[in-house]
């Protein structure tokens, strides 16, 4: 099953490689991993998406907790939570028809065109990963010049919050 785990780690050199190394050494898979500082400069927050049986997820959580740099973590999948991912995609728009088509899709998906030049548009779209997949599927493959996805960020709904 797919699990989304949020991790607070010490904002120190090597913390990311300890986590990445743990996954490769123990043969766990990482579907997506994002990391950035929080409002507290000493702490970074990671959102990690992985797949595995209940036993494997239990081990992953225990092994993560065992790392000295890991301050706290929560398996968001255990409760109601939100996930967002951002897509930046550069699309070839050589004709007026193509530009119109892109603009129409962007409107439908509630994205934004954030850069325009003579032959291409850059589109920004955020939402659940499925929505980004759907948008990409709706574009003709040959028109995609470049895609970049941020990876998943996740947060629990309601009053539960992950902080030190």
């Amino acid at each position: 099953m797919r699990h989304t785990i949020s991790i607070l780690v010490e904002n120190e050199a090597g913390a990311l490689s300890r986590i990445a190394g743990l996954f490769s050494a123990r043969g766990y898979n990482i579907e997506s991993l994002t990391v950035a500082p929080t409002e507290d400069a000493t702490i970074s927050r990671m959102t990690l998406v992985t797949r595995g049986s209940d036993a494997i997820i239990e081990q992953i959580i225990k092994q993560l907790n065992k790392l000295i740099d890991v301050i706290k973590l929560v398996d968001l999948t255990e409760g109601k939570h939100l996930e967002r991912e951002m897509l930046l995609i550069k699309l070839s728009t050589e004709t007026i028809e193509e530009s119109d088509e892109v603009q129409r899709l962007v409107d439908i998906f509630r994205g934004r065109v954030i850069d325009v030049c003579a032959t291409s548009y850059i589109v920004e779209l955020s939402g659940h990963g499925d929505k980004l997949d759907a948008f990409i599927a709706a574009i003709k493959h040959s028109k995609i010049l470049e895609t970049v996805r941020s990876g998943v960020s996740g947060i629990a709904r309601g009053n539960n919050s992950l902080h030190v």
């Binding site: 780690v9 010490e10 050199a13 090597g14 490689s17 300890r18 190394g21 050494a25 036993a55 239990e58 081990q59 225990k62 092994q63 907790n65 065992k66 000295i68 740099d69 890991v70 301050i71 706290k72 030190v164």
Partner: protein, 582 residues
């Protein structure tokens, strides 16, 4: 707390921190990046530096010191090859949860990342085999980092911690303040067991009809031998131990079934297979212990006590997990058992013991010492007699290691020192160095083989330099014995690369280092040779005993990899063979 106005160099700070931590020995080898630190060693007299001949030896010696004393072992090596040579030793300590603090010198900060001379990414290379590691870039953080390293290495589930220090940091100066304690917000080991879980465990214990206690290295590491003995004797349950657990329950006690697992005793493995309640304490269900996981303890409810939550339900799901210190939990549970109105069912327990005694009658460790060739088992038994069971015994890895634990009965914790998890050949001699330095008055014997000893034999020079009267018991069968045994059993006797075309003359080798060498070829010479080695004029000298043992001898019983506990291969000795496997 140090004098607040004291300004010291990074190198001096390291030595002052070690002295404050009551470190008596550092095991190491100098080199360019470490020279400021070595100069600081020269200028002090609190900590003795032990100069090994290879950095792997330094790590193993510190490890042996740590296993023998329970105190953290300290290593100091230079950058580059100094670090890479240490990695095997660090990984050995990591697998067996041994507290080490390893100082690795690094090239000067401005050179880091430039592929400088003797530069390796020490933090990167050691990351998968340490409990934690640090790169100290600022001399003002050095003392606090060292305090953290000792704290992390020795608490919770212990393990090695590496501190990588660039050369320029060891020259920079700052005010020396060594904190009395550190608080690491992301590291809070749990010591106290959960009451509800302990209550559930007691319910299983009182209802048990065929209970077994199975303990590992965690009990030794937690210095919980006394609590284990009280708990086990209060219950009257049979107890078996892993390779790492031996000594923490007296092997001579009638409740002790011997070691379990791949080369465990018949009675221990059969009891595991048949038990209905398994009490696992400080053990991690290693594959050499469990055999086939699908058929491991098929009838048992499992109680698992361990300080490391990730050890619980990793390979075998625990019915009652209890996280915490083995000693504290055992003490609380023993107390609760004594105070409880419920009692262990004596009737069932007596029946269970009768079943176990039947298994014991098989005498699975029986062997026959003829007139001709020395049996390796007989050498270990003779060693036990000559040392009156009191020696600290280290070993390497292979057949001799298994015979050591099958025929030397360990009656106190930290008496048996070996590389269980990583299985590092070459561990025995340097580990014995560490143990002997920690306990100069004790007898220290290294049971080894002619293959293992050659992996770190350069440390014979270290023994000479520090006058260490080790006794090396080499069971020389001319083969990498355990490899040969597997090839005999599982590869149709194709003995690929499991013997050397040439072996050194070990007597002359020992003599060339200034030690005593004795070659023993006949069974009737075994005992006299051991007496000659341990007493009289050789008492205070290192003696290398080269026992030429029967090369065809195998280690029995054996649970082959992937087999279940009740599928042991027993010795072809007629007395054992004639009884059928149950």
């Amino acid at each position: 707390m140090a004098n607040e106005t004291e300004i010291l160099t990074g190198a001096d700070i390291i030595l002052r921190c070690l002295a404050t931590e009551n470190v008596t020995h550092i095991f190491g080898y100098p080199g360019g990046a470490a020279l400021h630190i070595y100069d600081a060693i020269y200028r002090q007299d609190k900590v003795q530096h032990i100069s090994v001949r290879h950095e792997q030896g330094a790590a193993h010696a510190a490890d042996g010191y740590a296993r023998a004393t329970g105190k953290p072992g300290v290593v100091l090596v230079t950058s580059g090859p100094g670090v890479t040579n240490t990695v095997t030793g660090i990984a050995t300590a990591f697998m067996d949860s041994i507290p080490l603090v390893v100082f690795t010198a690094q090239v000067a900060s401005p050179l880091i990342g430039n592929d400088a001379f003797q530069e390796v990414d020490a933090v990167g290379i050691t990351r998968p085999c340490v409990k934690h590691n640090f790169l100290v870039k600022d001399v003002t953080k050095l003392a606090e980092t060292i305090k953290k390293a000792f704290f992390i290495a020795t608490t919770g589930r212990p393990g090695p911690v590496v501190i990588d220090i660039p050369k320029d940091v060891t020259a920079q100066k700052c005010e020396f303040i060594y904190p009395d304690s550190v608080d690491i917000r992301s590291y809070k080991p749990v010591f106290k067991g959960n009451k509800r879980q302990m209550q559930k465990a007691l319910e299983l214990i009182f209802a048990a009809q065929k209970p077994v206690i199975y303990t590992g290295g965690g009990v030794v590491l937690d210095n919980s031998s006394e609590q284990l003995i009280e708990f086990t004797q209060e219950l009257g349950f049979p107890i078996t131990q892993t390779l790492m657990g031996l000594g923490s329950y007296p092997a001579n006690d009638k409740q002790f079934l011997g070691m379990l697992g791949m080369h465990g005793t018949y009675e221990a493995n059969m009891a595991m297979h048949q038990c209905d309640v398994l009490i696992a304490i400080g053990a991690r269900f290693d594959d050499r212990v469990t055999g086939d996981l699908e058929r491991f303890c098929p009838y048992a409810k499992i109680i698992h006590i361990d300080i490391d939550p990730s050890s619980i339900s990793k390979t075998v799901t625990a019915d009652v997990p209890i996280v915490g210190s083995a000693g504290q939990i055992l003490q609380e549970m023993t107390q609760a058992i004594r105070e409880s109105s419920e009692k262990v069912n004596a009737h069932y327990l007596a029946n269970w013991w009768r079943t176990i005694e039947n298994w014991q009658e098989k005498n699975c460790l029986h062997y026959h010492q003829g007139e001709d060739k020395i049996k390796p088992q007989a050498v270990v038994e003779a060693l036990y007699q000559v040392t009156q069971g009191q020696a600290i015994v280290t070993s390497d890895v292979g057949q001799h290691q298994m015979w050591a634990v099958q025929y030397y009965k360990f009656n106190r914790p930290r008496q048996w020192i070996n590389s269980g998890g990583l299985g590092t050949m070459g561990f025995g001699l340097p580990a014995a160095i560490g143990a002997q330095l920690a306990f100069p008055q004790e007898t220290v014997a290294c049971i080894t083989g002619e293959s293992s000893i050659q992996m770190c034999s350069q440390e014979l020079a270290t023994c000479k330099q520090y006058h260490l009267p080790l006794k090396i018991i080499s069971l020389n069968n001319g083969y990498m014995g355990m490899v040969r045994q597997w090839q005999e059993f599982f590869y149709d006797k194709r003995y690929a690369c499991s013997y050397f075309e040439s072996l050194p003359d070990f007597v002359k080798l020992a003599e060339s280092y200034g030690h005593v060498g004795i070659c023993v070829e006949k069974p009737h010479d075994v005992m006299p040779a051991l007496e000659q080695a341990f007493y009289a004029e050789n008492k205070n000298r290192l003696v290398f005993l080269d026992f030429r043992v029967d090369p065809s001898e195998n280690v029995y019983p054996m649970v082959a990899a992937g087999k279940a506990h009740n599928e042991m291969i027993l010795s072809p000795m007629p007395a054992i063979r004639e009884m059928e496997l149950i």
